[in-house]
Amino acid sequence: MEILVCARRVPDTSENEIQLNSAGNDIERDDLVYSINEPDNYAVEEALQIVAKAGGNVTVATVGTDEDEEILRRELAMGANHGVLLSDDSFSGSDGKGIATVLKGFVQKGKYDLILTGVQAEDGGAQVGGMLAAMLDYPFASLVNSIEVTDGNKLKVGREIEGGNREMNEIDLPCVLSIQTGINEPRYVGMRGIRQAASLEVPTYGAVELGVDKASVGEVAAKVERADYFVPTLGKGAEILQGSNEEIAGKLVERMKAKGGLQ
């Protein structure tokens, strides 16, 4: 099975102190460390596990700049077969639809049975997967938390439904799936793997190679524009129960009963 995973490089929320910049339209980007968007990492792991069972190749693509190449190398170290950087000056400032347009261009250059995206980018809006599927006229399932390869043309996918329920679907290939975290346990990528992947070739494709109309992407085509960026004002703080351990436990049980958490 030929699998494409669309990945993205984002500021790592666990290793940064995210603060607004002085203009208030973005976060302070000095001193940030970046890593692969976490759900995308799960998508790559899932692709690797499928390929390990069913055979095939995993390609990871990202729309970005030279700096974004590092996440491709990390995923190559993880075991992906190919990494591709989709980069062009005209892509900058793309909204979700613009990014989906670029990805569509890349998908149409090759032949992929399955396209995975993370459920959402940590700094994004969970839109690219669905848009890409629509543009390609592929079936789409979101919030996927299990994939089973049944036969050559179909997949059985589980989806997470509100309230912790699960729904099982059969979906025709080729298709696009957005992957929920927790679907697997992504393998660790060590320093050794990253070093070895440093010398691998990562091709770059621009608008021309991808057959993407420059007017359909980037800032010129973006119809969604970020108007503001702010930290919500803090609400009422958490309450700390006082007393001995037994008293606290008693109070806690009372509250849980009162709120319907315990029957």
Partner: protein
């Protein structure tokens, strides 16, 4: 044992020459033994390289101490004493066996010479002692059943039957040998000849007394029968031992001789492969059995199944899925099964998921209690690290640890905190008034570097240890500074969690930063950093732990300590693993405590080299183990049992674990923990340095109010 063959060469029974019978059994027995041992050595030939032929003189000395001297054995009084007796008896009896093997049935030990007669007396007693000792050992096994011998269900069936069988065989050997002699002497008496001398109260002597009334025919039958049983038992034992725990009789000599010499170190990924060449190594660590070094395989064969390692293992004590004893036993079973004596070598399986579970291998805190205890000097930490290297290489790392490793890679600390905030602990207003710590970034040079490391730099609670350490250094008049943002995590536990390449990146970065700072010595308050800088890094200025500095300066009189503040407190010192066991710093911290006038100090029953790990440091703080209770909770209980209400430690990780444990076990108010540096800082007699040394800007202004 061959010692029993003390017969005239032409002695015979019903026409069967004992000598030719002996020779026949001996030849068959030796051929079998050589064949079996050759088969047993087959995996060692396929094992990884190991460097064990260096420093032969040191090895010889250690052989005398740990093998010949049985140094570790008395740590368990009863079992150790029994083993000492059996071992000594074996040595005595084996002397003749070896002599006979090498020189044939010749004269040195013949009963006629003075040496021979003396030896006989000693040998008779030796056999008696061994007989009694194995009997006592058997009774212990059957009646008293010490807990450490039991095999938990998950590790398969117990080894009691095998142990008793082997003890029985040794007893039989001693008995038959004695019976052989006794019957001969009894015959001599009945014939009216001058009987050979049998020392009083020895086993042969007692048997002789019993046999005095037997008929001559019966005595001859006993004499011949005992002889045959003795020789057969000896060779049966010889050939049976390589199938189980008794193989250590043969391997222990080599295992102790080739044992690891350097405490606190971790073996390289591959012996003989430099750090620069590591990129060419195809696979890291131990993934299959043959990835173990030959010495580590010899360890598996040498394990005597005594259970001392697991008896002292904190992970085992709190119900984690690790028992060092079974790390060895399972690997030995694997070797026996896949490299059988009869039949072909079988196909190989991955160790993790095969005989070991991932959690079993992550459970180890590398505290070293198992290695400290093992009478055979079996190594565990290097194997654990090697197995972890294999798992890291395969990407099989628990998520919580992955996050910390990722943060170490991008930020140089496991918490993902900003580099520029590394020196924030020095910026506490109150602290700055009393002590100004300079960051060594190319400005004024300093003599001494205080290597702070991640936890002391970033953890709110532990920063207090950093500040106490700085104030003490200042009080000694030391011209010191820190690296600040240029200091990355020492990587001590990165290496021990198997992420060797990341460790090397951290090490290289820190080494460069330290060298650039131009300092002449390094002090740290973190035993993990101390061990890393001392044992894992190369070519650095000398490193000291703050407890060593304090002890020295208390001795020199530079540091003076006030009378203990709260005289009602009873203090117990908890030895951090990487200060104590791994670096042998036991006395300095105690000396410092005892230098505080009026301080009442008690020892926990587990102290010094038997200290009980608090739960582990470094990345172990990020690991979510399966366990019944916390190690720290057990440790706090031990302190309470010792009658202490303050636990003094000298390691930031111990502080985190012990303080957590005090909370978890509801001991708040009854027990508290304090770092040695904090305690000393509290009791410092503060004075202005008598002489200014020209760099007062780096230095503390005396805290007059103290």
């Amino acid at each position: 044992m061959l010692a029993g063959m003390l017969i005239s060469a032409n002695e015979s029974y019903r026409g069967i020459s004992l000598l030719s019978l002996t020779s026949l059994i001996q030849i068959i027995g030796l051929i079998c033994f050589v064949y079996i041992v050759t088969k047993r050595m087959a995996p060692l030939a396929r094992g990884e390289r190991d460097v064990r032929f260096d420093r032969l003189w040191v090895r010889l000395q250690r052989l005398m101490k740990y093998w010949f001297g049985q140094w570790k054995h008395p740590r368990y009084r009863i079992a150790g004493t029994l083993h000492l007796l059996i071992f000594a008896g074996f040595l005595v009896l084996a002397t003749r066996a070896f002599y006979l093997l090498i020189f044939g049935l010749s004269d040195l030990f013949a009963t006629t010479g003075a040496i021979g007669r003396t030896y006989d007396v000693i040998a008779d007693y030796a056999a008696t002692i061994v007989f009694l000792a194995v009997s006592a050992a058997g009774i212990r096994r059957i009646v008293f059943k010490p807990a450490r011998y039991t095999v938990p269900e998950k590790f398969g069936k117990g080894h009691k039957a095998d142990a008793i069988f082997l003890l029985g065989l040794i007893a039989l050997l001693m008995f038959s040998e004695s019976l052989f002699e006794a019957s001969r002497v009894a015959i001599q008496v009945q014939r009216g000849e001058v009987p050979e001398f049998l020392p009083a109260l020895s086993l042969p002597w007692m048997l002789k007394e019993v046999l005095a009334a037997a008929s001559t025919a019966m005595l001859w039958r006993l004499h011949f029968g005992a002889y045959v049983v003795d020789v057969l038992t000896f060779y049966f034992l010889l050939c049976y031992r390589p199938f189980g725990v008794q193989f250590h009789v043969e391997t222990s000599l080599f295992n102790v001789f080739f044992a690891k010499l350097d405490r606190g170190t971790v073996k390289p990924v591959r012996w003989g492969v430099s750090d620069e060449q590591l990129d060419q190594v195809k696979s890291f660590g131990v993934k299959k059995f043959e990835d173990f070094t030959w010495k580590h395989m010899l360890d598996f064969y040498s394990c005597a199944d005594c259970g001392r390692c697991s008896d002292n293992c904190p992970a085992n004590a709190v119900g984690r899925p690790l028992s060092p004893r079974f790390l060895s036993i399972k690997a030995r079973d694997y070797a026996f099964q896949h490299y059988p004596v009869f039949g072909d070598t079988e196909s190989h399986v991955a160790l993790i998921g095969g005989i070991y579970s991932a959690d079993e291998i992550w459970s180890c805190t590398t505290c070293g209690a198992c290695e400290e205890e093992c009478p055979l000097l079996i190594e565990y930490i290097d194997k654990i690290v090697d197995l972890r290297r294999g798992m890291v290489d395969d990407g099989n790392v628990p998520k919580s640890i992955q996050k910390a490793l990722k943060a170490l890679e991008s930020r140089g600390n496991p918490y993902g905190k900003l580099e520029k905030k590394k020196a924030d602990w020095t910026k506490d207003k109150e602290f700055q008034q009393s002590c100004n710590v300079s960051v060594l970034n190319g400005g004024a040079p300093a003599d001494t570097l205080y290597f702070v490391d991640s936890i002391t730099s970033y953890d709110d609670r532990i920063q207090a240890i950093g500040r106490a350490t700085a104030r003490i250094l200042a009080a000694t008049g030391e011209n010191f500074g820190i690296l600040g943002a240029a200091e990355k995590d020492s990587g001590h536990d990165v290496r021990r969690f198997g992420e060797e390449m990341l460790f090397q990146v951290l090490r290289d970065h820190n080494t460069a930063a330290i060298k650039e700072s131009g300092v002449r010595r390094i002090v740290t308050s973190d035993p993990h950093a101390y061990n890393a800088l001392k044992s894992d890094y190369k070519d650095l200025p000398p490193v000291e732990h703050i407890s060593q500095v304090i002890a020295r300066e208390v001795r020199s009189g530079k540091l003076k300590l006030n009378h203990v503040e709260s005289a009602s407190n009873v203090y117990a010192y908890h030895d951090p693993c990487y200060l104590g066991r791994h670096n042998q710093v036991y006395d300095d911290p105690r000396e410092v405590l005892d230098a505080i006038p009026g301080l009442k100090r008690v020892e926990m029953s587990r102290c010094r080299d038997r200290s009980f790990c608090c739960g582990g440091g470094g990345l172990m703080l990020f690991y979510e183990p399966q366990e019944d209770e916390r190690m720290g909770v057990k440790r706090v209980q031990m302190a309470a049992e010792a009658g202490a209400n303050v636990i003094v430690t000298a390691c930031p990780f111990c502080m985190v674990n012990i303080e957590d444990a005090i909370k978890v076990s509801g001991m708040e108010g009854k027990m508290s923990a304090i770092d040695l540096a904090e305690l000393v800082d509290e009791h410092l007699v503060r004075q202005r340095p008598a002489t200014g040394d020209g760099d007062s800007d780096q230095h503390v202004l005396a805290h007059a109010s103290a």
